[in-house]
Symmetry: C2
Subunit: 342 residues, 2 copies
Amino acid sequence: MKRVTLAEVAERAGVSVMTASYTYNRPERVSDRSRSKVLAAAAELKYPGPDPSARSLRRGSTRTLGIVMGEHLTYAFEDPQAVSFLAGIADVCAPRGYGMTILPITGAAEDASRVTSAAVDGFIVWTTSDDDPVMAAVQSMKRPAVVHGGPATPGLELVSIDNRAAARAVGAVVFVGARRPAVVSQPLSRERVSTISRGTDITDVLFPVTRHRLEGYRQAVEAAGVAWGDVTVAVCAHNDAAEAEQITATLLAGTSPPDAIAAMSDQQAAGVVRAVRAAGLVIPDDVAVTGWDDADVAARLGLTTVAQSLRDQGATCAYAALGQKPGSPASWSVVRRSSTRA
Amino acid sequence: MKRVTLAEVAERAGVSVMTASYTYNRPERVSDRSRSKVLAAAAELKYPGPDPSARSLRRGSTRTLGIVMGEHLTYAFEDPQAVSFLAGIADVCAPRGYGMTILPITGAAEDASRVTSAAVDGFIVWTTSDDDPVMAAVQSMKRPAVVHGGPATPGLELVSIDNRAAARAVGAVVFVGARRPAVVSQPLSRERVSTISRGTDITDVLFPVTRHRLEGYRQAVEAAGVAWGDVTVAVCAHNDAAEAEQITATLLAGTSPPDAIAAMSDQQAAGVVRAVRAAGLVIPDDVAVTGWDDADVAARLGLTTVAQSLRDQGATCAYAALGQKPGSPASWSVVRRSSTRA
DNA sequence: CTGTTAGCGCTTTCAT
DNA sequence: ATGAAAGCGCTAACAG
């Protein structure tokens, strides 16, 4: 069952290869008679249409966007925010007939070559770390490319909210009047180790999104009159309620239990809320809590949080990867609910 | 900024094009001296590696799987079950270095041509309707292809649980002792109209998964001594708790409010539960409820449901689309919890 | 409206 | 270990 070629179709139809090609690509330039002869021949031979790889080579375009979803592709579909982001890309790609190729990243050394061997017209990189080698691979492809969140990279657009400003703003709400503030953080590096520490050195943090948020929180606690060295930072390996719940239980059982906790996602905040309640404490009186993203769960739990639209940001990235002009910086706002004090 | 070619690299390195090519594809067949000359030349010229389209054309393989996610690509990322399915595909693709191209389906006439113009080695089709024209397009590509759920199609593998048997089994649980059974259904056709009717004609249903489930429910209600003509079927346009909640409220306010409701997803069942409670009724005493899929929400709400692993099924589909032997039929089971009687 | 020519950039023979 | 030739299947560019 060999592949039928356009040349075979043309021969069978009694026309030149170009007439057959035009039948598929510029039907208006072909007479009705020729066109129907070609289509009839194609049907007889069960020709499925021009070969996509040959067409891409000749045209220099694949009509496909490449998406790099972080160090473990498998996580991509477990994070609701990442899924919203993909939906935003789909909103732009589908109506234009662009496919979305999700590249097989696993965290291994081959990742770079998987980027360079992707047949795509442009790249979208989901937020990663400063030291991620795929950034160089994407740069080297010399195609339109955009990174969401960070790291900011020469030659790539950056689509992101101002995480530092947003963290400062939500931190001002959650940490007001707090004596023992704490942060439940996303990972600091691609090793994804979970730790609990105080006065965490922010400059070492390799995920720029996480770093900027920590910087914003730090500014907020200092504005509230607390030294950064007194702030506990609990780092979770994954964006997941269960882990946040457990680490929060540990914090609350410690010698200086926090009275205000800023989490870096609503999923984590949901775990924080469960742990606080399980400890018999009242939100926000005993412990104020904030999340991030304004997912469904935030409204359900009455969480104060940072609202942003990952879906819109996904769409913005898609436009950029298609080579269109970048939009304005992504917007955010603090949504105040009942999990924080007045 | 033109693309650098392998020929330019070879010339600069002072070797033949083939030596340069081998450097990338069979490094062991090239002397250390030649290899390092080639790599040095590539670095100087910023050659990003062999062009993927040219390579695909020559090799006849793209190392990418095509995924057809239903009539609106945009829905794919809104349905948690579909997302689990994608994660299962990723589990198989990532370690093998295969990319996943999600095809830009929109429900328009161009969908077929978007399938035929996809540069992929195999296809995975997410459950669709008997009359979906993309099935013919996938068949015509003569590549390994698999459909999840249905329709069963000559030339394509089918990966599915036995929906009829599963519906019969869960129906036996939810409808036991019921006098006025009802079904909250997924759409019957790609038009996705929402309707409420009795004695619904099952043979007309174009989504085979939905049809088989309705057939199973019908067998269960008849075994429970109720005529199908007395069963209300409420069809929701989307797989979404809010819509199920609203349509259930309508059913409960009607002249013969149901005392047992089988939903086709846990999301829908969650909406059913909310509507039942809002009406001041008790589960399962006044109304028994079942879901489908055994998602997180099912455990949270104590829902009796049909357990299946979409993630495993996604992985099975990926193996099939890679041309490997098909596995055994997918497994399912009924998980009994507190939303049904005895 | 149709056809001829000339590659797109690469890798599979098959030599040497 | 290296290289020359051939061509994967298609379409831009230009005739006619």
